[in-house]
Symmetry: C2
Subunit: 318 residues, 2 copies
């Protein structure tokens, strides 16, 4: 038995460190995944998840989250929830119900309220300013409003061999009210089976969901394929198929972990992620697709990290 | 090239006949699937889809629908939409958008309104009476409120080799506001790839989604397995796995169609469905699981049909 955790984007790092600490002390993967994602949700400068997330076209922060227990296949999810501090905790709590385990819109927010989940106005002053600026740009320059769709996804394995996976996002910046992506759709945005492993996705949900990529990666790992080969095989085959069939393709990235604590990543865009195992302490890496349908992975540089820290807190032009 | 269509439950029949007529005249599968599902949505006596569907615990009819084009992989879906006559048409229209193609809650209803879709109070007097009666029973007899979760799913193949799949439901009777199931989740409740075929699901969505069954059935057909074997293999393997892992299991049924117009069905409960092909005119069948993990399929009897017709229109006890 071993423990490990992998999470999408640089923003996963601090939460993942806490999750790994918990796992190293014998904590279970569900607690570790929830703890790690809450850390990301609570951080005001991560602009695509939880507090500080960028709002929809009306200025409201609407969030999606999903959770799956790889032992029991329990699934819980919320879509279009608002004003709730930690959507991942709502998704996890819902996963314990046989009926009504996936809730959308005001029904999701009301259920969370009735069940005592903490309320918060999720729109920070910074996110509000970015939204106002973008509205102006869209009017003046006729820009496409849509970018920024970085979900935090965490896959955790604990020393008892149990997998959990969780996801959380405020979704596409300037999305239409009620828009949801792959984040809360099981098989599309997340999947786990403790006999095999788990996977999570980030990127343009409208395209990820067309390929059921998380289910497919877990399935491939179940045939004996390594997490890296499973990610490469599923993601690049689907990228080719989508280009041919749909003639356009959004950006997306996938992470996976198996029962040995081995991990893998595939992406069609520059992608950072964090991973920690029993043997290797948490670290941030950067991945890029190669021309031969593999993934090039390198440790992140201090320069990249410094620029990132500067960028997410940079003063906004008025 | 050939054409064919398969749909879940006895309720699919009249719509499927219209869809098959359209396909026989050279119509495309997207039009045929939408036409067929609208017929079911419009029928006031089908109590789990569209007009006449049973409401949530608050008495409101909240609906889910999904649509996928097997050529382009375009996907559109709505969850928790209300007051809209034909959710399937909204899902299909949304599938043409690269962004914001899946909408939930009031955002879905508002988008449909802004885009000119017809409004209707979906709660019939009959459904209202059933809801009031059930509320009383729950209070007095402490009954589990949940049953009735029959999604209409249609898979269509046209003479140009194009697949479409659509689904529509009012969901679990007495569900919590905002509850959604597998119906609008691509890969879980529906999937289509025109190189292979398509599949659709009905039953307890909370459990169907745990297995990504529609994606899995299409994937299996893509390896050369017949639709019937693909359904048997995916559904009964997953049923066993869920019993072992989750220790309980809802009722569900799947239908599938391949590029030759061959079809298959698997179910863990008595299940009726309708199917029509170029060679065989539309007919209703009844399926049951066998002890050796296969599916027994027989033509429906006139007696069954007569009892069904009587049942859905039976006077309600006051």
């Amino acid at each position: 038995m071993t423990y490990a955790m992998i999470g999408t984007w640089r923003m996963a790092y601090e939460g993942l460190c806490k999750g790994i600490d918990l796992l190293s002390e014998g904590g279970n993967s569900a607690d570790a995944v929830e703890l790690a994602i809450k850390e990301v949700e609570n951080h005001p400068f991560f602009k695509s998840v939880g507090y500080g997330g960028l709002p929809n076209e009306n200025g409201l922060v609407e969030m999606d989250a999903g959770f799956m227990n790889g032992n029991t296949f329990e699934v819980g999810a919320v879509m279009g929830i608002s004003d709730i501090k930690n959507p991942i905790s709502v998704a996890r709590e819902l996963s314990h119900q046989h009926y009504n385990s996936v809730l959308v819109g005001t029904g999701a927010t009301q259920w969370a309220t009735i069940n005592g989940f903490e309320h918060q106005n999720m729109l920070t002053e910074r996110a509000h300013k970015i939204w106002e600026k973008r509205k102006k740009e869209i009017e003046e320059k006729n820009l496409s409003p849509y970018d920024g769709h970085d979900t935090v996804g965490m896959v955790g394995l604990d020393n008892n061999g149990s997998f959990s996976v969780g996801t959380s996002t405020s979704g596409l910046f300037m999305k239409r009210p009620g828009r949801t992506g792959d984040t809360a759709l099981v098989g599309d945005g997340f999947y786990a089976d403790s006999d095999i492993g788990g996977a999570a996705a980030t990127g343009l949900g409208e395209d990820i969901m067309k390929g059921c990529l998380c289910y497919e990666i877990v399935r491939l790992m179940g045939t004996g394929v390594s997490p890296q080969d499973a990610c490469d095989k599923a993601v690049y085959a689907f990228t080719d198929k989508l280009k041919k069939r749909y003639r356009k393709i959004g950006e997306f990235s996938l992470v996976a972990l198996n029962t040995k604590g081995e991990w893998g990543v595939a992406t069609n865009v520059e992608f950072t992620f964090a991973v920690g195992t029993e043997k290797n302490k948490p670290a941030i890496f950067i991945a890029n697709p190669t021309s031969d349908k593999k993934t090039n992975i390198e440790p992140i540089t201090q320069k990249w990290l410094d620029e990132y820290a500067k960028r997410i807190k940079a003063p906004l032009d008025d």
